[in-house]
Amino acid sequence: MDLSVQIGRLRLVNPFIAASGCFGYGVEYAGLLDLASLGGVCVKGLFLNEREGHPPQRIVETPAGMINAIGLQGVGVHRFVEEYLPPLRAAGATVFVNVCGTSIDEYAEVSRILSDHEGVAAIELNISCPNIKEGGIQFGCSLAGTHDVVSAVRKVTTLPVIPKLTPNVTAPASFARAAEEAGADAVSLVNTFLALAIDVETRRPKISNGMGGLSGPAIRPIAVRMTYECASAVKIPVIGMGGITSIGDALEFLIAGASAVQVGTANFVNPLIWNDLRTGLADYMTRHQLSSVSQIVGTLDMKR
């Protein structure tokens, strides 16, 4: 069964991509599964330089979800291209790099460096991380900021540019449109929801950073809605995510209009989920007599 999907000019063997921050640099999983069997591997957010991230406790569970404030700990783009990109290439992974910045220049610089190296399939612009003070979400919560970051990166790379949108706004679709106008090849969403869990005995936040980002099944119904809104608003492909734990969940996003999906939190629970997703999709396509994943994308019937 052909499970491949097209994101702009990028062909993925299947629509299932490991979400950024939930799959390390990919290499950590090479002993457990075949990285080439994933539609894509989106690595942890990278700045120009190394970053320590927030002190622990960095995660806490919530009903059907979790809050994280990792603070984008990472090795920086230089160490990434030297130490991690080669084994990823060797493993045959389709590598998405999640690019961070505290300034527009930094986004452009990191993207430029990545473009100089073989083995990067696409750039996902993280303009939506709720967990860092400078940069990130400040661009993702402003239409002009979104436009400017995308335009700047667009100028320095021919790689597909995929801004990742935040759900913490009134109308994500308007951000998808701003990204499209600025030359994005696709958009991905959702990043995490800004959230707070309190230890009532100490009256302090449960995680060290105070607030963090909510992910997991809890957010899925909101993420599906936003994916539908964005896919209805733009012509470029949409990559949907938020709480996918099964093929049924993934299909909701595809039917809502996503051309591919990312899986984050569920990978922690079931690192072999990728096999289930592939098998489940093939089974669904057989039952519904479909020969291409594109026949699923955006087929939601909203009429009463």
Binding site: G21, C22, F23, G24, V27, E28, Y29, A30, G31, L32, K44, E52, G53, P55, P56, Q57, R58, I59, V60, E61, P63, A64, G65, M66, N68, I70, Q73, E83, Y84, P87, S208, G216, P217, T245, T265, N267, F268, V269, N270, P271, L272
Partner: protein, 283 residues
């Protein structure tokens, strides 16, 4: 460069059948799991990530040390047991497991203990459920002809479990309880300090510690002050156990004494106690 090291880990995700679940006390359970492929890979002090239930409540797996390797008559490991102390939702679910239930069990994970070779003495310092990673270490040391001493502390005698299993291996167990109901009154550091005092000059010791963070810190301080090395097994909150999430970090000191967050599921859970920034440890 951590990459090559990472690539060598090949854990197994086993659908492990519960062979037996024995309640040792109101909060301690010993759960025997059938998982031959996984068991075959285990090295001393490694852990597994377990999800004892279906559904999203709770969402994530939980780390448990491999306590025993269960062996068939021919000596082949066909399963593992875990020693679980009930503290919250998942450990309550573990306590409720019944024979025949199937749990998702991913492992073995983490950097293992390095068993020292004679003439270096091996001392294991366990606090409460911190006993769990020591059975696999003890077996390895015994097999190497270097049987360790176990310093085993708990609040009270009733909280000391499974020590007989160590004694059966021919291991000397030194007890300490906070209320003095068995062994020395107080923490394991007291009998350990005595043992250090009694140590023949020039004799080297490697201490292995697992238990509450303040206990491990005290054991490490004591050991390092006596000029020996202490390897500790840290318990951070873990989202994945595989290096995917960066939730489990501890601040490790580089040669220059500078702290960097490292993932304890990959770089640990076993650390040389001298390389840890103890003040930065969460709880």
């Amino acid at each position: 460069m951590a990459t090559p090291d990472i690539l060598t880990r090949m854990p197994v995700d086993a659908a492990a059948r519960v062979i037996a679940n024995t309640a040792l006390s109101v909060d301690y359970n010993l759960v025997a799991l059938e998982a031959p492929e996984l068991a075959a890979l285990v090295r001393p002090g490694q852990f597994v990530m377990i999800k004892p239930h279906e559904g999203h409540h709770p969402l994530l797996r939980r780390p448990f040390s491999v306590f025993e390797l269960l062996r068939s008559a021919d000596g082949r490991a066909h399963g593992i047991s875990i020693l679980s102390k009930r503290v919250g939702t998942s450990t309550a679910l573990v306590a409720g497991l019944r024979e025949g239930d199937v749990v998702a069990c991913l492992g073995p994970l983490g950097r293992p203990f390095e068993p020292v070779e004679a003439p270096v003495e091996a001392w294991m310092a366990a606090g409460g459920v911190g006993l769990a990673p020591f059975m696999t270490l003890a077996e390895a040391l015994v097999a190497d002809g270097n049987p360790p001493t176990l310093f085993y502390g708990a609040r009270r005698a009733a909280d000391l479990h499974c020590a007989d299993r160590f004694e059966r291996l021919g291991i000397r167990v030194v007890y300490a309880t906070e209320d003095g109901s068995r062994g020395a009154r107080g923490f394991v550091t007291a009998p350990m300090a005595e043992a250090f005092a009694a140590l023949p000059g020039g004799r080297q010791v490697r201490v292995y510690a697992c238990g509450p963070t303040p206990m491990m810190r005290a054991v490490n301080d004591l050991t390092v002050a006596r000029g020996h090395r202490c390897d500790v097994s840290l318990e951070q909150v873990m989202g994945c156990g595989l290096g995917g999430c960066y939730s489990c970090v501890v601040k490790a000191l580089d040669e220059g004494g500078h702290g960097h967050y490292v993932r304890s599921c990959l770089a640990g859970p076993i650390f040389d106690g001298r390389t840890i920034d103890w003040t930065a440890l969460g709880h």
